[in-house]
Amino acid sequence: MSANDILDVLNISRDDNQPAKKKQKTSTPTDNGKPLTGMARELYNLVGPNTPPINLSSSNYISNKGKQNRQFRPSPWSKVNFTPGKHRNIQLKHWVKGSEELLKQENESDEKKEYFFEKFNIKLDIPEFIDEEKYETYMNEFKDDFREEQFTKRKAERMRQLEEQKKQKKIEEKKEEEKRLEEKKEAEKQEEVKQDIKKEGETKQEENFLEEKKEEQKMGEKSVEPSVEPSKEPSEPVITEEEQRSEDEKIKEEVKKELVQFDWSYQETKELFNLCQIYELKWPTIHDRFPSNHRVEDLKEQFYRICVKILETEENKNQNLIDSLKAFSKPRELERKQYLENLLKRTPAEIAEEESLVIEARRFELAAKKMLLERSNLLTLLDSPQSTQNVSQYQSSQGISNLYNNLMIYDKHQKKKQAHQQKQEPIPPPIPLAASSSIRRDKVFQTNLQQYLASFLKQAHHTNPAIKQEANSIQQLLSKRLTQKEEEAYGLHYHGTEKLTPGVTLRSQQKLPGSNQRQSVLKSVSAVFQEMDLPTAGGTMWKPVMPTRKTMSKYDELLRSVVTMLDIKRAKDKLEAEIKLIKSQKGMQ
């Protein structure tokens, strides 16, 4: 049914003028020349001349993907020829992104680009191999050098050996002579004795005998001496010429044998260099491909040798390179490899053994360290003063007087710590420091504190002699000549060598020096305190009811003693447990 039919049925007249007024620009599908088919036709019949706002077209039924695909053009790839590498003339084909035209343009515009992977084709820079003549000269040079070197070395060694042998001989001879002499002596003595027995108790004869004996002894000594002397004369044994010559020959033979290492033909070496170039100095491969049966170290040695010679004749010598090449030592390399082999071949038992040895060695080290530590502790305990500074400053007379002063001051401090204070005289009027010889006189009667303050002042005074010293508070205080009690009344306290942090603290908040313990210990201590009904203020703040200096120190003392007690108790408990254990063991036994 068409729209018109409906309208008729419903008796509605259509306003046909509207389209003209509205100037619809959109052409209705009915204006198309083509007749519409299918769904579109039906639809438009139904809807009428008014075009719907939506553009209904059959294209909706085409899959979106396809449409998108059509809109999306894949980038073209083209199969192009290329030449990998500069030297090869092979033409291979591969796929490259980009349309043919584009690539052609690229190729024409810039120079022919290098193949992408060409940059991985690295070649090592090996010195070019030389021609035969030079080679021969080099090798001969090597041989000669080697020969001479070895010759002199061995000769020296041989000479030394011979000398030693000769020395040994001489010593042995000497010993033998001495032995002989002793035997002689013995024999003579025995004869003497025999003679003695023969002769009958005549004192004269005895005297004679004694005399003779003495003479014998003298003679014996004399006879020993001359024999000793000749052996001392030649301090260096003489090596005859004949001996020398024979030794030389022997050495020559030995050196010849060793010259085998120079037995490289020109061809071989050339081949070696070639392989080195091809295989980029990868020695395992070179060794594998090398026709004859030299070891890797032989190859390396020969190569480095020749390279050294070649490089030395070059103009710009790279001395570092040459030195590093010279540093190659074949016997060392062989030895190293032998070590590694042995290392690999250790049986598991040996490995375990080594490990246990290492552990033990470490343990020993630790023990040694501990011992040293304890020793040093002990030494410090024994209070031997260590001289940490240079002693020489004290070696002049001024130095000594300085030292003396320092020691006196130090000593005073020590004394102040221990000595008791003494009573004071009544307070004299204040005296300026400069004229205070009396202060010095009254030193004895000063308290520790005052002595300290006095010395403190003196130091200050000396350091600034130019500045006009005001009569500062310290002087005033000193002049008051307080008793100890009065000092206390001022709240002053001299701490001696105790460490003081400058600043203000609250007495109750001060940490007691005795409370430097582990947490567990502190806990047990506070438990003990609670038992004793001491105010603990919960936790580690032991606060006396009235925290003054004295009470705090008393607290500290209490704390320390509690700690000690706990320690002992713990040790005792441990012992008890051990005893129980032993008892049970014994009991079971």
Binding site: H87, F120, K282, N293
Partner: protein, 448 residues
């Protein structure tokens, strides 16, 4: 670009990997060869014509049809037939020779003459744009992506152990014995002969009844088909293959041997108990099986490849420092130069000891086990245990691909990897170069 990530640059090269058992061919860049065909050819002689057939055609029973092998120990033995086979394969793949280079693989024990003949044949017979010959262990090391490794290839004909350093095979330290797949075949043959077990190819069987050994087999043969012996032997390979699938390497001190039943084409069922383990163990201890038929026995081989280096003098081998107890137990594992026979683990240990000490640890850490025979269950575990026991100082690590098919075709896949690398393309040798330079120089310089 895949260039920068994988270093790959495909040129559609062809990889051809001939092996003693199978020949593989396919495109570089693929992860699997397109064609795997047995390395045999059938010769059909009929009056005046002789026709050679390859591939699946071989299986059809014909009279006057001889089946002969193409390769022996990985080296081409029958050149003409092989060339024909290659042609056949190239045609199957519809290769455009002028557009594609060819990569051929060869084992490391090929002589100079062999190499010469190979290269000449390729250049004369075909017009590939480029050609290269790669050694099998190199390919395998590239497939695994390990530049320093020890390739242990348990193939059909040979077991070879080759160290690879920086991708280049070290020939002097390589070892090869024949105690591999074929050796196992001969053991099986000996065993069947000894037990008087009859075997007939399945196409011949008309009817059969299931019998259990030691009952004699009951079957009837078809008549009228006469085939040659070589054809039967070729089909017997299939049977061996099935038998070998039952093998299993025993663990040390294993007392229980689970049994399996092997049914022949004749219907006869054989119960295999400890034989399964005993045969498989021959890979490690070749002397442990006593051949009844001495003809089947292989000559003893200690692994050294003789014809490689004329100057391969006797090099004193280093000895182990072992406790006496160990020596008594493993008498055959002492690297005695006079040793006759080396099993798998001794081969590997010996090869390791010949390697330069500096490289030894890194190579021992990268031992690649490949080849069909290595799929026998328990082989890699036992190998690992034996190697670690014999080499206490080294950290041994075995790598074996899990996928069965990959492991069998690993060398081809390696060749595929190699030929698709961008950095490889400068190695191809063109015919032009071959003609200019001559074969000797080529061998020296290019095909190293």
């Amino acid at each position: 670009m895949s260039n920068t990530v994988y270093g790959g640059d495909e040129v559609n090269a062809i990889i051809l990997d001939p092996g003693t058992y199978n020949t593989r061919i396919g495109y570089a860049g693929d992860d699997f060869p397109k064609i795997i065909t047995p390395s045999y050819y059938g010769e059909y002689s009929n009056k005046d014509t002789t026709k050679k057939l390859f591939g699946q055609d071989l299986l059809i029973p014909r009279s006057n049809f001889e089946i002969k092998p193409l390769l022996k120990e990985g080296l081409i033995s029958d050149w003409d037939s092989t060339i024909l086979q290659f042609n056949h394969l190239f045609n199957q793949l519809k290769i455009q020779q002028s557009e594609q280079p060819l990569l051929l693989t060869e084992p490391i024990w090929s002589s100079t003459e062999y190499k010469t003949k190979l290269i000449e044949s390729v250049y004369e017979n075909w017009q590939f744009s480029g050609f290269y010959v790669a050694k099998v262990p190199t390919c395998i090391s590239f497939q695994q992506g390990r530049p320093n490794c020890l390739v242990v290839d348990l193939g059909h004909d040979t077991i070879s152990v080759t160290p690879v350093v920086d991708g280049i095979c070290l020939i002097k330290n390589s070892m090869k014995t024949n105690y591999s797949g074929k050796f196992l075949n001969s053991i099986i043959e000996d065993y069947l002969q000894d037990k008087n077990i009859v075997w007939e190819p399945s196409y011949k069987i008309k009817s059969k009844t299931i019998t259990k050994y030691p009952e004699p087999a009951q079957f009837q043969l078809k008549s009228g088909i006469e085939t040659t012996n070589s054809y039967s032997q070729f089909l017997k390979l299939q049977m061996y293959h099935e038998f070998k699938e039952l093998l299993m390497i025993p663990e040390k001190g294993q007392t229980e041997f689970p049994k399996r039943i092997f049914e022949l084409s004749t219907g006869q069922q054989i119960t295999l108990e400890k034989e399964r383990f005993q045969f498989a163990d021959c890979i490690f201890e070749p002397k442990s099986y006593e051949f009844k038929n001495k003809q089947l026995e292989l000559p003893p081989s200690n692994g050294e490849i003789k014809n490689l280096n004329p100057l391969n003098e006797y090099r004193p081998l280093k000895r182990f420092k072992k406790s006496e107890q160990e020596e008594n137990e493993t008498a055959s594992t002492t690297p005695n130069p006079d040793v006759e026979v080396r099993g798998l683990s001794q081969l590997i240990t010996h090869s390791l000891n010949l390697i330069d000490i500096d490289l030894r640890s890194s190579i021992a850490n990268n031992i690649i086990v490949t080849g069909g025979v290595s799929l026998i269950p328990g082989l890699t575990e036992k190998l690992y245990h034996e190697l670690t026991n014999n080499n206490p100082g080294l950290k041994i690590r075995l790598h074996a691909v899990g996928n069965q098919q990959e492991r069998i075709n690993q060398s081809w896949i390696g060749g595929s990897v190699l030929a698709s690398l961008g950095t490889f393309h400068q190695m191809w040798v063109t015919k032009q170069e071959y003609e200019e330079v001559g074969i000797d120089r080529l061998l020296n310089q290019r095909f190293r």
